[in-house]
Amino acid sequence: MNHLSLIIKREYLTKVKNKSFIIMTILSPMIMIALIAVVAYLSQLNNNKERTISILDESGLVSSIFKNTEYTTYTILKDLSLDEAKDLVEEKEEYGLLYIASGTDINDIAKTIKFYSQDTPSLTFLSSLETKLERKLTDLKLQQDGVDTDKIKASRTSIDIAQESYEGEKTSKIDNIVKLAFGGIAGYLLFMFIIIYGNMIMRSVIEEKTSRIIEIIISSVKPIQLMMGKIIGTSLAGITQFVVWIILGSVLMVIVSAIFGINMSEMQAPQQEMMQQAMASQDMQMQAQQMIAAIYNLPLTNMIIAFVLFFVGGYLLYSSLYAAIGAAVDNETDTQQFMMPILMPLILAVYVGIFTVIEDPHGTVSTVFSFIPLTSPVVMLMRIFLLGFHYGNN
């Protein structure tokens, strides 16, 4: 026991004191954050471009629905022919010209609508225009046919099926989505962790052989102690790095967004604007509230216990496989061949998780893969939050 703690201590300290380890621990989150900041900044540049759209509405039916917003300005052109309007818009270097021909039949009008522009217009922008026009024209058509549109609006009913298990545990669709999301994140985290730190364990097992110290060590301690010490020590170093990454990453994120004013809500302003208009904004708010409530309602203790259990178990299982490879070969170049058999079940598990667990968390496929040792950790992590974890019930 004393030997084991000595070995763990040495493994941990040599890993953590290693210069490249320290540099990467500090640098990685910085690079990640820098990358995110650059991407955010670039897309902000792109999206914040103000657009001016001219509208030539010969029918006079739809121009009233275009209202100026922060990033989009609509100019209604009047008493101009189509060619004059095109010339004018081109000259002013506006984003484009929306043309609606005159007519009495709404179906005919709908067919004549055209968008003229220098470059290909943004797809999201075009579809937001389409939605607006569709809604207005549908309303008009309904009115023409003598239907009261206000009544239709009033009679719209939204349904959200409430769910309850026989034991009286209440859930909702949003609850499940949130749980699925958390499960997915947890499973993926384990997957990443195994890939990054499994290799580290393998290398540390080879270390004794390449430095030829193995005979001295093995004549002092039992091989099992050495192996355990290496797996535990290296894992602790890995966890340390991971935790530092998360803490440093979130601190940097806060700092960066404070300095550069890159705010997630502002970031995608024009698109969000369209989204909000497209969707009934009340529904959205409701859903957001439910989402937050769902997150607060998650059975946190159970989740943490389950997470730790499957994460540790799964990681130890895979890391011992990596260690076995390290033990079987003499140098690192020989390990390449053995990577495939380890990665296959891991990748399989992630795909099973993504394709079947989301579709049917309690289906045959999900259940079977939860029992296979090599896929169980990832699949179970993805399922576990949905299962109403009853300590060994599932």
Binding site: H3, I7, T14, E215, I216, I217, I218, S219, S220
Partner: protein, 310 residues
Amino acid sequence: MNNLLVANSVSKNFGDFKALNNVSIEVPKGSIFGLLGPNGAGKTTLIRIINQITMPDTGNVFLDGEPLKAHHIQDIGYLPEERGLYKSMKVGEQVLYLAQLKGLSKAEAKKRLKFWFEKLEIGDWWDKKIQELSKGMAQKIQFVVTVLHQPKLLIFDEPFSGFDPINANLIKDQILQLREDGATVIFATHRMESVEELCDHIALIHKSNKILDGKLQDIKRQYKTNTFEVGLVASNETQLTQIINEKFETAPANFKSLNNDLKLNIKLKPSESSNNLLSFLTSIAQVNHFNELIPSANDIFIQTVENSKS
């Protein structure tokens, strides 16, 4: 109990290959025991069995009268032939770690380490990394690692390879000193000059079998041929040779001498004494060189190995 280590008919196979075949050795307490043999004879396998790195297929090993158990690791210091240390660890930390693995407390290890570092004049290496040291320097560190926990039994596998003559001497003196202090040393090598200098017992392993063992002196006595090297001042060499040839079996000899004398190897029959030869020689010429030929460990090694082949 006079033997510190006893191995009883130890055998070990690796697949179809027989690495050791019924090998028994007895290492007396306080001796320096030479484990000799050509490359691939099975020396290292035997040493690994003693260190419990591998287990024998049959046979057993006793240390100080007890069958070998896990806790005996603390009583053995082993310097493997394949030298190696953690390259990126600092010298001091590393030796402390290895000493703690052998069961020393940290404080005790530190104290002894200071003593050894001073003795070998390597005190200022404490904070250096192994990769900054030369091969010979790293070997000195390994020597310290081997002896630091003051084991009863020290096993050195080719301890002098890689050392310059000065450091080899330094290490040799330390080994002798350790023996004085009560340690028993097993010394695996195929370098006969160091065997000659250090060992008092030897065992010779060839092709997985032990073909010779015992006290070095006894073995030498056994292998001596009763041959004497003589140098005579002679006016007429051929005539003198003839006279001697009539009474004894002779062969021309070659050794360094200040004079241009007649040099001969004279072999005596077991019944004849060296005094007879000497008085005979003094009666016919002036003797300025008279020396019994003692077989060197090297001769014995080669002869035994060659004999076992036929």
